[in-house]
Symmetry: C2
Subunit: 318 residues, 2 copies
DNA sequence: GGCCATCGATGCGCAATCCGTATTAGTTAT
DNA sequence: ATAACTAATACGGATTGCGCATCGATGGCC
């Protein structure tokens, strides 16, 4: 098929004016080429699109049908060009975000909301991933960006911290320590702990265990469960205590109380992405997260003891 | 915009194969023109559609989006070509049929049904017209074909008879004449008549009045109404008698009975259309009506007295 | 580590296409 | 009958597009 977009545009102009001379003027060409292109189009279609006398031009039934189609097609092309350019600018497209449970309770919702309001034409596909699976998903390209408390960062992955919050203690409501507004971690030395399994959320696990060891005791771990909600739930049932990110205190459960902790370590949340990822939406998402991080930077620096595991990994993106 | 369908086809081939050489082979061209056309396309779009190394080609996000659009557009063009050709063949399109009330009771339903089953892609737009308005609608192009009992036929209109049926009498149920299965028109000489106004349905009006005059009496017209249903209704109420096309007897109304009439004149129904009308659907509709007319030809010739007003107008179409 | 194969980009010549000017043929209005 | 107008055709010049040949770069292989 040798039909050309030019022929469609010529045809539409002629269909609109029903006059070869005026249509040619509108197209900024002379009349003979228009006649020839229309004739060629009719030849290729094998269909007479116009009934012409030397005095007037009118459309055939097939002509008006083709006119409607041609307009649709030309508009589709124009729209395709615009949306493709928007895609390259990252103003529309698909962004696959892998997030961890702890991010879902803190930084994920406002960040996604902010980004979504700035880029409404981008399809943000959120999927929860286990912390240990995130890196692989990013490297293999199954996700464009992750939101998590980072653990090990393989080469090729970039990281941008955007949020930090202290650990806090969660205790059964009737527990003696629940009387005071703030407790010291050392006071939990003899309590049974409920924690995340190291294999599922190594960073958080390490943070909790580390906090205890720093205070000179090895926590007695009674239970491990990879859902933070379950931890709080089991604490509420009186099965033990735990240290969880402060944002978990949004969870209101009758039998559980949250208490801030002196010398609490910070839980950091940040974006992780593959340096090689060229999804144009990612750039804007990072910008968005960066300005979001600026707003929350006081939080990041409010932690009382020095650097987090990835304090040196605050990298810039290409 | 200078984007060409060829560029879309080249682009799609390359997107499918992700290999310049193989895509070129599939397109039956050599590799260099493909490289150049893709480069030109990217130049015109201002967007990189492929990431190429000298070892492998892959699509960018914008490239895959454009691919989806390009496929849609090419398919839209192919489909437009096919449907336009079908339109010219008259296999799809719009056919505006103007019909009269009397046709609606007899020939219209089976004819439309037959045509619709043969040409399901044609949009048959039915609209009722008053008999006196039909010719104007056809000449001005507001309708493609009319189904009616023809009256005057201006030059430029063609006619094809497809159906004929006798007049019959409609009487109040309690009327003495309702006792016999067949009556003579003369027996109605002293009855009050309910008829169509001459201005609305001149042909039918003339047929009824003419039938009476033929039997030597001038009917006493008590009422005129341009709805046949209303005529039957008023007869049922005992306000008079009438002569109506036999197909009206399908109308079952408690107080009205239909009786066949000796020496009844025939009501003819046929197609009327402008000779200059070039709607391709019309041709098939006429063919369809012609074969329908063949089936009903016995009816047409069963009338007992000679020619109808348009017996000489059984024309062929161009 | 050097060589070879593969692949996309580029240079160049030729052919096809397309446009514009000039003209023709046909139709309507005066 | 003539003038005015419109679409189609003829022809020359310019642009575009293709194929062949080649280049440059990359990855595999011995």
């Amino acid at each position: 098929m040798a039909i050309d977009f030019r022929q469609l545009r010529y045809f539409i102009a002629l269909a609109d004016t029903l006059h070869f001379g005026r249509a040619a003027a509108r197209l900024h060409i002379s009349q003979p080429p228009l006649s020839r292109q229309i004739a060629a189009l009719e030849e290729e279609l094998g269909v007479a699109l116009f009934k012409r006398t030397s005095r007037q031009v009118e459309m055939t039934a097939a002509g008006s049908h083709f006119h409607a189609q041609a307009v649709r097609i030309v508009e589709a092309l124009n729209s395709a060009v615009r949306s493709t350019q928007a895609t390259e600018r990252g103003e529309r497209g698909v962004l696959r975000v892998g997030f961890t449970m702890s991010a879902a309770w803190s930084v994920l919702p406002p960040l996604i909301k902010t980004y979504g309001s700035g880029y409404p034409d981008t399809d943000v596909q959120l999927s929860e991933v286990l912390p240990r699976e995130l890196n692989d998903a990013l490297i293999s390209g199954k996700a464009d960006v992750g939101i998590a408390f980072p653990w090990q960062r393989p080469p090729g992955l970039e990281y941008l911290p955007i949020h930090a919050e202290p650990l806090c203690a969660v205790l059964p409501a009737g527990h003696p320590l629940a009387q005071t507004p703030e407790i010291a971690i050392g006071e939990l030395a003899n309590e049974p702990f409920i924690t995340f399994p190291a294999a599922t959320a190594p960073a958080l696990h390490e943070l909790v265990i580390g906090s205890c060891r720093e205070q000179g005791f090895e926590p007695h771990i009674r239970l491990e469960t990879h859902l933070q909600q379950t931890i709080v739930n089991l604490v509420a049932e009186g099965l033990g205590v735990s240290l969880v990110p402060q944002s978990m205190s949004k969870m209101q459960l009758p039998g559980a109380v949250f208490r801030s902790v002196a010398d609490a370590r910070m839980v950091e949340q940040g974006l992780i992405w593959a340096a090689s990822n060229d999804n144009p939406c990612l750039k804007h998402f990072l910008d968005c997260a960066r300005s979001y991080g600026e707003l929350n930077r006081p939080d990041i620096h409010r932690r009382k003891r020095g650097k987090t595991r990835f304090a040196n990994s605050r990298t810039s993106h290409p």
